[in-house]
């Protein structure tokens, strides 16, 4: 494995390369500080076949999270995790996949968007998912991120109208994060019709990679989503296992299973 601390591959180029090779992207999520050994977990997930890793910076009022990630965030905060500590630990990681940080507006604005993005860049982070910054509020953040080489991943929801999908895909970068449902993060046993419908609409609107998140609970839902998109993001399913006390290796087993399921998908090359 090559050692790359600074200058990990840009997120979007990395995901486009995968798409060109017919590989569905798998992006597991880890809450920074959820366990003392969380950075070891990140490394294990990368080794298990993740194409990028999403790191959640814990926040006291995680409005968009279901119970699992709420609990993970609270546990991390109770154990003294902060944005500065999380990014210091991230900077020490030795990975060959890009990292994308997910967090809430106040942690970004509290430092100022410019300072925040500069810190992400110096920690070797490629992208940022600002979950409660919709397009209308994103202009200053997008500019700050661009000037520090950070790709800003914006979210589309089933309720997002077509012209807005285009604008979000256009102004965001890295990938388009498509939420499979109207709702909070968390595992679901099956994905509704709106997931496929949204993925289809987003892919029609943009050439950027489209990854689906929310509700991906294992190989079955991952494969279901990836049939319509370029990859999946899996958060609560990973964190539930961590909260239940599974080891990094055991959690990595889930990522391996999902990897296998995704690799089995044959993408139709033409309509």
């Amino acid at each position: 494995m090559t050692t790359v601390t600074l200058g990990r591959p840009p997120l979007e180029r990395h995901l486009r390369d995968h798409r060109d090779q017919g590989r569905k992207a798998l992006v597991p999520y880890v809450t920074a500080g959820v366990t003392p050994g969380w950075t070891g977990l990140v490394e294990a997930l990368a080794d298990a076949g993740a194409d990028a890793i999403e790191i959640g910076l814990p926040y006291s009022d995680p409005m968009l999270e279901g119970t699992t990630i709420q609990e993970a965030s609270q546990r991390a905060l109770d154990q003294g995790m902060t944005t500065d500590r999380a990014l210091a630990a991230v900077a020490e990681l030795d990975l060959n996949v890009p990292l994308v940080v997910m967090t809430y507006s106040n942690l970004i604005r509290h430092r100022g968007a410019g300072v925040f993005c500069e810190r992400l860049a110096s920690a070797g982070v490629s992208g940022l998912i600002p979950v409660d910054t919709p397009l209308d509020e994103a202009t200053p953040l997008l500019a700050a991120a661009r000037s520090h080489g950070i790709e800003t991943v914006l979210i589309v929801a089933p309720s997002t109208p077509p012209d807005r999908i285009e604008a979000i895909a256009d102004q965001g970068s890295g990938f388009v994060y498509a939420s499979t449902v109207m709702g909070t993060t968390g595992e679901r046993t099956t994905l509704g019709d709106q997931a496929a419908d949204l993925a289809t609409r987003v892919r029609a609107a943009t050439d950027r990679p489209v990854l689906m998140g929310f509700g991906i609970s294992g190989p079955q839902t991952a494969a279901q989503a990836a049939r319509h998109a370029d990859g999946v993001i899996m958060g609560a399913a990973v964190m539930r296992r961590v909260l239940a006390g599974e080891s990094a290796n055991e959690v990595a087993g889930l990522v391996r299973e999902v990897r296998t399921a995704l690799d089995a998908i044959i993408e139709p090359r033409w309509p």
Binding site: Y59, S60, D61, P62, M63, L64, G66, T67, Q70, Q74, L77, T82, T83, D84, Y104, S105, N106, L107, R109, H110, R111, V131, D132, T133, P134, L135, D136, E137, L154, I155, V156, A157, P158, S159, T160, P161, R164, I168, S179, M182, G183, T184
Partner: protein, 427 residues
């Protein structure tokens, strides 16, 4: 306006999404469409004569508007001889100003074709008001309330359930009002097709701060006329308590363009701002983003929300409405803390001198009036928004002043535990 001043210069005309650098709409993308829908529905409703007439009818025949203005001469003797005038929002149906906003939003819910309302509540006043409007308009109603608060306000939990609402105790985070708001947002993002989030204060994402203000500005409009009629002039100072700030913006709004009228918001000082145990978001907070808007919030050096503290559950919130943040920064209004002790002194004084038991929230505004009255002296006029009645606070006050014997306290504590356990079982 008959003068040449451009209307855009009037502070009263300010609307969201931004008030200065405060406000905005920091929400997940999934809520943007619903906020747009709400904004459009609200914009259409407030210029629709039928909507205006229906709301006005409810004000007059259901809430009991206009609320009266009561002069408090015996209370004023303790305020340096200035005249103290009380705007009696405590006499509204459900016992506080909250009904103004709730009726407006419930009508709007029906107009949008939605059948379910959700709301957060701290002390239970907004929850009770929402449950009331939902019963009146045949809407399904779910109230989110921090588990800690369901215990502190068991009587209001019962009240909401009598009105047919479902009360959901929130066990996440600090188990108080801020967590109830988070949980209501999560419900809303999941059920937005059928559900309106009937937010109870002038905070949250646009259009809530503007919309909730518009439904409460009747307080100041009535009061301004009433004070003019009674005294022949405008008051020197208007005082109101500020948690999220709905009653304060409601009474301030009509006076924003009267530069001779000072506006004073009283924040919950808890044990004292210097102790760190308070809810004074403007006095002791830092600009940030909480619950969808940029405003002053109580937060630590990492940007995590700090729990607020106040004897008054209705002011126990670590943020404040963005329009207040703007009025504070521009200097148009002043905001000062009132400690628990100062508020309870004013509470007792109003009980004893005027025969009115005020809400502990409103007692912060009364404490501010005592301060201002002393400053103004004879001839001064202070208008106070008496935003709620104190029936819900009798238990807290009885403990504070030691008015019930220890065995009684033990007994009522036992009842409370039983009530909470029963509630949990049923859920």
């Amino acid at each position: 306006m008959t003068d040449s001043q451009p209307t855009s210069a009037r502070l009263r005309d300010a609307v969201g999404p931004y008030f200065g650098r405060f406000g905005g709409r920091f929400v997940p993308e999934a809520l943007v469409a619903a906020l747009d829908e709400l904004d459009a529905a609200f914009g259409a409703a407030v210029v629709d004569p039928a909507f205006i007439a229906e709301l006005d009818h409810l004000h007059r025949t259901y809430s009991g508007r206009p609320s009266i203005l009561t002069e408090a001469p015996r209370f004023a003797k303790h305020a340096g001889g200035a005249r103290i005038l009380l705007k009696r929002e405590d006499l509204n149906h459900t016992g506080s100003h909250k009904i103004n906003n709730v009726l407006g939003q419930a009508l709007l819910t029906r107009r949008m074709g939605k059948t379910r309302v959700i709301a957060e509540t701290g002390a239970g006043q907004h929850g009770v008001a929402t449950a009331t409007a939902a019963a009146l308009m045949d809407l399904e109603c779910v109230i989110y309330m921090g588990e800690e608060d369901t215990r502190r306000q068991a009587l209001n939990v019962a009240r909401m359930r009598l009105l047919g609402a479902e009360v959901v105790p929130v066990t996440a985070g600090s188990r108080t009002l801020k967590d109830a708001i988070n949980e209501a947002m999560r419900d809303w993002v999941t059920n937005v097709d059928t559900t309106h989030y009937l937010l109870g204060t002038v905070a949250g994402p646009h259009p809530f701060p503007t919309m909730v203000r518009e439904f409460h500005r009747i307080i100041g409009e009535e009061a301004r006329e009433q004070v003019l009629e009674l005294t022949g002039r405008l008051p020197d100072v208007v005082t109101a308590c500020v948690g999220g700030g709905s009653n304060a913006i409601g009474i301030f709004h009509a006076f924003l363009d009267d530069p001779e009228v000072e506006l004073l918001g009283l924040e919950a000082g808890g044990d004292g701002v210097e102790t760190g145990r308070h809810a004074s978001s403007i006095t002791g907070g830092v600009a940030g983003v909480l619950h969808g808007n940029r405003t002053f919030i109580l937060q630590n050096e990492d940007g995590q929300t700090i729990e607020s503290h106040s004897i008054s559950a209705g002011l126990d919130y670590p943020g404040v409405g963005p329009e207040h943040a703007w009025l504070a920064e521009s200097g148009r209004a002043r905001y000062e803390p009132v400690t628990d002790t100062q508020a309870m002194e004013a509470f007792q004084l109003l009980c004893r001198t005027e025969g009115i038991i005020p809400a502990i929230e409103s007692s912060h505004a009364l404490a501010g009036a005592l301060r201002e009255g002393k400053r103004l002296g004879e001839g001064g006029i202070v208008l106070v928004n008496l935003s709620g009645r104190g029936d819900k606070d009798v238990d807290t006050a009885a403990r504070w002043f030691g008015l019930v014997s220890a065995p009684d306290l033990v007994a009522s504590e036992a009842e409370r535990v039983v009530a909470t356990d029963e509630l949990k079982e049923e859920l």
